[in-house]
Symmetry: C2
Subunit: 523 residues, 2 copies
């Protein structure tokens, strides 16, 4: 049996687009001799559909899309992902299902049992977990059909009390097929391959793993769909960060699986992966929202420099507009660095001083501020005037404003990566002490620990969930630790109002990290 | 047995404060002859603790707090809520538990089985559902001890496949105790009483129901803890929107329960309830964050007028600062209405024209805007200059800026309610057509349907999840329906960046409504 792995980029809720992509891919695979084409989890509606699933109309549209796809499955079968109604009056109304379509109709369904409800996942919010398991059979081949998380429960401290594959294995399937929507983090591909190999090791049959690709707001899906043989050997794989199809030929007699498609590419540097993920994330946000042009404030510092370089790569340099917004405290060097970068990239740029707007607003506030000393109020006011100027241009000309806030350490590695062939981002931008340049001689380190210390504390606290005692025990200064954790926790309200942040870490700021705004823990 | 219902207001993660409140309440109830004091769900750590639960250190602090509380339970018992470790290696690491404390130590635990994971709830994100059920016994009385959602599964289309009370009832308990964290909506008290009565009707024993009170960021807990006898009769209840304790005497021989505390107040108008909830929500946000003073922009329109009146009530008129920020398009009437309101309330107010700041920034943009016609860019620019002025004052003087965005229809009812005794909000502010006054003669209805139509479409779509076809079938104009739904869905990115909104509706914008930002459903 020739199986095609169809790794596509879907738009959530765009049934017309998703359906026509799926149908076109079925046709293409048929021409290449496939017996079965496998698509990703919830491919029909896009993943994650979130609260769209609460609309009966949305589910109805999904059912209609399934019918349309099934009608194209003549002489070929397809496995697609879509919600299905739970026939039992008890429990939630929907299952997260894999649908086997052939001979123009729905032949079988397999429902997801393990519903990830942690970090960025909310599946138990919508779906009833499946409790009964049966292999499906197509062309005499017995398939253990599972959905993403269903095969992720092999750890020594398992998150769920049972494994669907343990039940399915009793029915002696010939092959496993897993349809997934597994988002990118910088170490996810490694983790994912370990899990897939743990499954082939445990169940001794080949596995077909189909992931979706593309960005869904902050979530980045890298694809990397693949085929492993019964010994966990890499047989074939789709490209990372792009749509792709690969094929594998399964022989049920000896359970062997071979492929004329390329193998999965298993190794890339962490920085290269993050770079590619961010470029895809920026591009897909714009494409899927129907936008084309971006604007950003370019300071000559590393954060906005890196954002500009990534945006130019994602959207084309002709679609990115850099605006230099110097204050009276901005150094000549900053302006020169910003200009050099914009010219290196070939992006349009302009300069608008903020002094006039700032002074005018300060003059309006003069009767209230009186002779109070210059402080953070005036610093922030300059930053806000910058935002007003940028948003004015964005509104007038249809640009989308990119946020250039940093997540320090990663920035330096990525800036070096952008410069890997030749200097695009001025080395001065990378090397100089970070500063918002909102008062004379200001440096970020005046109000924050040095970034190399700050980054480690943040990583240990946010990603590893270490306690203050853990951090002090590993050598960080106690006062610094308390101050940093307090700053993180006191500023939850700011993160609540932040624009979407492309997610590249296993525990990132955004929908995967849900903290109380009002709370007094470590604050 | 004399049982005290302790309805307290907790701060999430503030173990010192919560513990000392609980201990002080145990002492107080002991003095009033109580045998058992019952506190709310997760009372020790505060509800909802959200991802604080992922920190081992947080759980450890909770265990220590339990020990401290238990040491005060001599000659009296307490039931408190806190997370507990799941001893089984399989499944999630924590239970959401009710702890029976007496004789200085932990006597028994009951774990929550039904974990709400919908709307604003995320409990399966953190907790393993309980699967084994045993009544607990104290002073010879057999108690069916459950936690909030555990008793909410009696509908004909139940969300969960089993009911903990069905198992516990087989053990013939004398009484039910339910500890809860049940947030307010304008119809929640009615729904909650129906559920409690359905339980007494089904299981024929009295119920002690203890809710927490107070606001946790956007979530408003109204309290309304209560005692129903075995026939569902209202025996006693705590106050709404305030800390309170009530007592009930249970006689195990005849299962009768009587009280010398006041009965639960069952009826208030929807508008009065929303008013009280919002006042509590504003007050608690400030108190718990350690803030005291608020600032807002006062336009003379209904939205900011209502916000000012609510803030003055919540924080004291001396703590609320109103700033009039007229544009060149503002009418004299608007200014007069704003001044009248500030004076009626006795709030400090000032006037800062935005013309100078606006013109100066427009001048900086002139080389780019050139002679392009005035449009939404200039309108928004004026609104943003207002925000910069307000934030400048907020930063300089330590005010917290209140958002005055509307949710139209509710505003009118509430403004009338504020005026119930005499005119505080000028009737002109309530009656005149809403306008941002950012260009000559501008009215909201230029770009939106009239609010009475808009409100109905939004209610049917957002709260009832009706489809476009449903809406058209109930008589709304198809073009208007499509336009409104498209506006709602295209602007998800704006709501993503909004400050917390106090939740008063069953399906409100905020953490209970999780939509894709990038999606193409009804947009």
């Amino acid at each position: 049996m020739r199986i095609a792995l169809a790794q596509l980029n879907y738009i959530i809720g765009d049934f017309d687009l998703n359906t026509s992509k799926i149908i076109a891919t079925i046709e293409k695979c048929r021409q290449q001799g496939a017996d079965l084409v496998v698509f990703a989890e919830l491919s029909v509606c896009g993943y994650p559909p979130r609260d769209f699933l609460e609309f009966d109309d949305f589910i109805l549209k999904s059912y209609k899309a399934i019918d349309a796809i099934a009608s194209h499955c003549e002489g070929i079968a397809a496995i697609v992902g879509a919600p299905s109604h739970n026939p039992d009056v008890k429990g939630k109304n929907l299952f997260n299902s894999a649908w086997l379509l052939s001979d123009g109709k729905v032949q079988a369904l397999a429902h997801k049992a393990l519903l990830p409800t942690y970090d960025i996942f909310d599946e138990y919010r919508y779906f009833e977990p499946n409790r009964t398991f049966d292999c499906i059979t197509y062309k005499g081949i017995k398939i253990a059909l599972t959905i993403c998380e269903d095969i992720w429960n092999l750890a020594p401290d398992p998150l769920y009390i049972s494994n669907p594959m343990d039940v399915l294995a009793l029915q002696t399937p010939d092959i496993m097929i897993n349809i997934a929507a597994s988002p990118f983090t910088y170490d996810q591909q490694k983790t994912r391959l370990e899990i897939l190999k743990a499954n082939t090791n445990q169940y001794k049959i080949p596995i077909i793993y189909v992931n979706q690709v593309g960005a869904q707001t902050e979530l980045l899906f890298d694809g990397n769909s693949c085929v492993l043989d019964s010994e966990g050997k890499n047989v074939a794989g789709c490209k990372a960060f792009d749509e792709d199809i690969c094929f594998a030929d399964f022989n049920p007699d000896d359970k062997s699986i071979v492929s004329d498609s390329p193998q999965l590419i298993e190794n890339s540097s962490k920085t290269a992966l993050i770079h590619d993920a961010l470029v895809m994330g920026i591009r897909d946000y714009f494409v899927k929202m129907g936008f084309s042009k971006a604007i950003l404030g370019l300071s000559g510092g590393i954060d906005s420099a890196l954002t500009l370089a990534l945006a130019a790569e994602a959207l084309g340099n002709e679609n990115v507009y850099a605006v230099l917004l110097p204050s009276e405290y901005s150094s000549d060097h900053s302006i020169a660095d910003a200009v050099a970068l914009a010219e290196n990239l070939g992006c349009k740029y302009d300069t608008i001083g903020i002094k006039e707007g700032y002074n005018s607003i300060l003059e309006s506030l003069k009767p209230f501020f009186k002779d109070l000393p210059f402080n953070v109020a005036e610093e922030n006011l300059q930053a806000r005037v910058r935002a007003v100027l940028l948003m004015g241009l964005a509104n007038k000309f249809g640009y989308i404003l990119l946020n250039t806030s940093n997540k320090s350490e990663a920035s330096v590695g990525l800036a070096d990566y952008i410069n890997r062939d030749h200097e695009i981002i001025p080395v001065n931008s990378i090397a100089k002490p970070p500063s918002a340049e909102l008062r004379p001689g200001q440096k970020d380190s005046d109000s924050l620990p040095e970034y190399d210390i700050l980054d480690q504390i943040l990583y240990n606290y946010i990603e590893l969930r270490q306690s203050p005692a853990d951090l002090v025990a590993s050598g960080f200064d106690e006062t610094t630790v308390k101050r940093v954790l307090r700053m993180v926790n006191m500023n939850e309200w700011k993160r609540h109002q932040t624009p979407p942040i492309l997610r590249v870490s296993p525990k990132a700021f955004g929908q995967g990290r849900r903290m109380p705004i009002v709370g007094r823990y470590l604050s």
